[in-house]
Amino acid sequence: MVNFGNLSQGFAFIFSLASMAFLLTGLMKNDMRFIESGRRSLYGLALFTTLASIALGYLFVTDNFQVEYVASYSDRALPIFYKVTAFWAGQKGSLLFWAWVLSIFTAIVVRNTRTDLKSRNTPYIYLVLATTASFFLLLLTSLSNPFALLGFIPKDGQGLNPMLQNPGMIFHPPTLFLGYIGFTIPFAYAVSAMVIGKLDETWLRKTRRWNVLSWVFLTIGIILGGQWAYVELGWGGYWAWDPVENASFIPWLIATAFIHSAIIQERRNIMKVWNMVLIVLTFVSCLFGTYLVRSGVLQSVHDFGATGLGGYFLVFMIAILLGGIYLIAESYNDLRTKHSLESYLSRESTFLFNNVLFLAIAFSTLFGTIFPLISEAVTGNKLTVSQPFFNQVNTPLFLLLLLLTGICPLIGWRKASADNLRKNFLVPALAAVIGAIALFIAGIREFYPLTAFSLSIFVIVTIFNEFRGGTMARRKLTGEPVFTAFPRLLYKMRRRYGGYIVHLGVVIIVIGITGSSAYKLEAQGTLFKGESIKIGDYELRYDDFRGYRDRNRDIYAATLKVFKNGKPAGTISPERRYYINAEKPTTEVSLRTGLIEDLYVTMPGIGENEEITLKVTVNPLLIWIWIGGFLMVAGGIIAILPNRKKKGGSNEID
């Protein structure tokens, strides 16, 4: 199977190169035969990356430890589920996963454009996709081969990092990668539009679903990553502005800005240059994110070239940036539009401001992320930028974004009338002020939490008003009764209202983040059996301790009786696990989650006499982060639901 995998990977590379060669020849000779062969070669590429991926999965499942990659990330005791998912646990498998998914996405594009082969832009789209796939396959076949063999056959593998043996970690990397890879498609369409000079909004319309779907995957990936960090790492939080987290957040921010400004171009035929800039930046940041988390460069700047990968990635990213800049400069005169903003009091202008804010947050995050690398490269000393930097810089920007999220629906496209705006503002603003006073009286007096909660009220009322107003407007225009008008409004204008659901999710996340970060309680102590620890309204009594063997780990678990306000409220059982093949034990979080707060308990230490060291955290409102995340994803999916009637197009306002 090793040879099968190696050959499949090699053939995939050959097919990607062949596709490029055929397409280029077809374009130069204006010969359809070559273009058709180039198109068909992309199916070949998808087939052989699939075979290579099946081969790697098979090698993991059958414990073929002669394969260096399998030996590094698996062992015999690893449950089969984790063996399969160890595929993307390391750099080599992740690169193969990239190539595989990209080739499948490419095959979907090829299939969807099979009748457009005569269009001038289609071969260029294929060419960009084939070139990107070739880059990853070049890395796989030359520098980072997942099928490379060890010179001996080890008895067992080194095993998968215990912290990665968590359901959240199974889906987190592939969903992030799906998001990263998905943005290759709009990038390819953008490049082809610039090459052939067809710079209207057609490319945006054709890639709208790809954009939003990729964004949805990125969102799922980020949320799953946060959830994994929360339940697995045991420090009581979910986001630490860690470089790996930032590597996924930066593309998400730029992509979000792009999705907003793409809407403006589609509606108003403006911001063409800006959209081209954003899609190039989105794609480069996706490549950067992939490289950052899988290269080891985060440990030290010197690792950048250690595997040889860094240089290749750097050259590819620079080539894309320079190529993008060149194409945008070449098309600049055509991209400039005669249209402009009709009024600064319009939804377009709020979108513009949000773009500025998204990019400001993206660049501050990028700066904080790569600052240690820059400082190490320049001074030889690695100076890290920690959480306070990110919080101080980004929190005010996030609050401004939240304010815009509320203002945006109040303003109409093109031009808003000031008196109507005042009228529409009144109820949400009053609700926010009343809410702020109530919160102040209730004891919430710190600036940021009070502002965040008040703005959240403002945005929620705005969104509900928008649903109500939209339903009434539809009723007025169509004469439908309310209970028919509302679901029809949601479906017919799903792009707009799906977006509002995403915004609602964002607000709910803000509430969760504010509550859990500003009002978090922490306590730590060592307990002997029968002793208790108190935190907030809770008291935890240490009752029992036991040790047992489960599959690939020895588990030591303490049982604690929980009392809330003096009344029994169940038991909680934090664990300490010793995985075979792991150097250090891991702590397993015990969690009682509720709509108001989470009780979060870890056991960092066990003494000789079964005394335990406990770390207890109470995280208010934390579950709302996951609920908000779910709403964001649901809203994104609603926004791209397909039309029931394909032909003739929709006459509805969207």
């Binding site: 199977m1 040879n3 099968f4 050959l7 499949s8 053939f11 097919f15 062949a18 077809g26 374009l27 204006n30 010969d31 359809m32 035969r33 070559f34 273009i35 058709e36 062969s37 068909r40 070669s41 199916y43 070949g44 087939l47 052989f48 075979l51 005569k118 001038r120 071969p123 209207d200 909004e201 057609t202 509606r267 035929n269 109040l410 303003i411 109409g412 496209w413 093109r414 031009k415 808003a416 009338s417 008196d419 109507n420 705006l421 009228k423 529409n424 107003g469 939209g470 009434m472 407007a473 539809r474 007025k476 225009l477 006459n651 509805e652 306002i653």
Partner: protein, 105 residues
């Protein structure tokens, strides 16, 4: 066995990819028709103005714009739409006439 399976799959895929090259030369792109391009572009403008008019109706019904702005914006886009449709009509006549001439000629 592994080799045989791979050989069969690879051969079939290679034949599939190379088959179009066996036939005679086919021109991919005819010389672009400037008139066609112009008509397509005008059609897109027309669609965007229609969309703008629908937007304005909805924004007005949702109380985002007042009567004055509604009238101004609606008239503005109606005029633009009329201009585009006029131009489109003219272009189609020329295109139709041109085609007819070619056919006849």
């Amino acid at each position: 066995m592994e080799w045989a399976i791979f050989f069969i799959i690879a051969s079939v895929t290679l034949i599939y990819a190379l088959m179009p090259l066996m036939g005679g030369r086919q021109v991919w792109q005819e010389a672009p028709d400037a008139k066609d391009e112009q008509i397509k572009s005008l059609e897109m403008e027309k669609a965007s103005f229609l969309k703008a008019l629908k937007d304005i109706e909805f924004e007005f019904a949702s109380n985002k714009i007042n009567n004055d702005d509604y009238d101004k914006l609606r008239n503005h886009y109606r005029l633009k739409l009329a201009e585009v449709m006029k131009e489109l009509g003219g272009n189609r006549d020329i295109k139709g006439g041109g085609n007819k001439e070619n056919t006849d000629g």
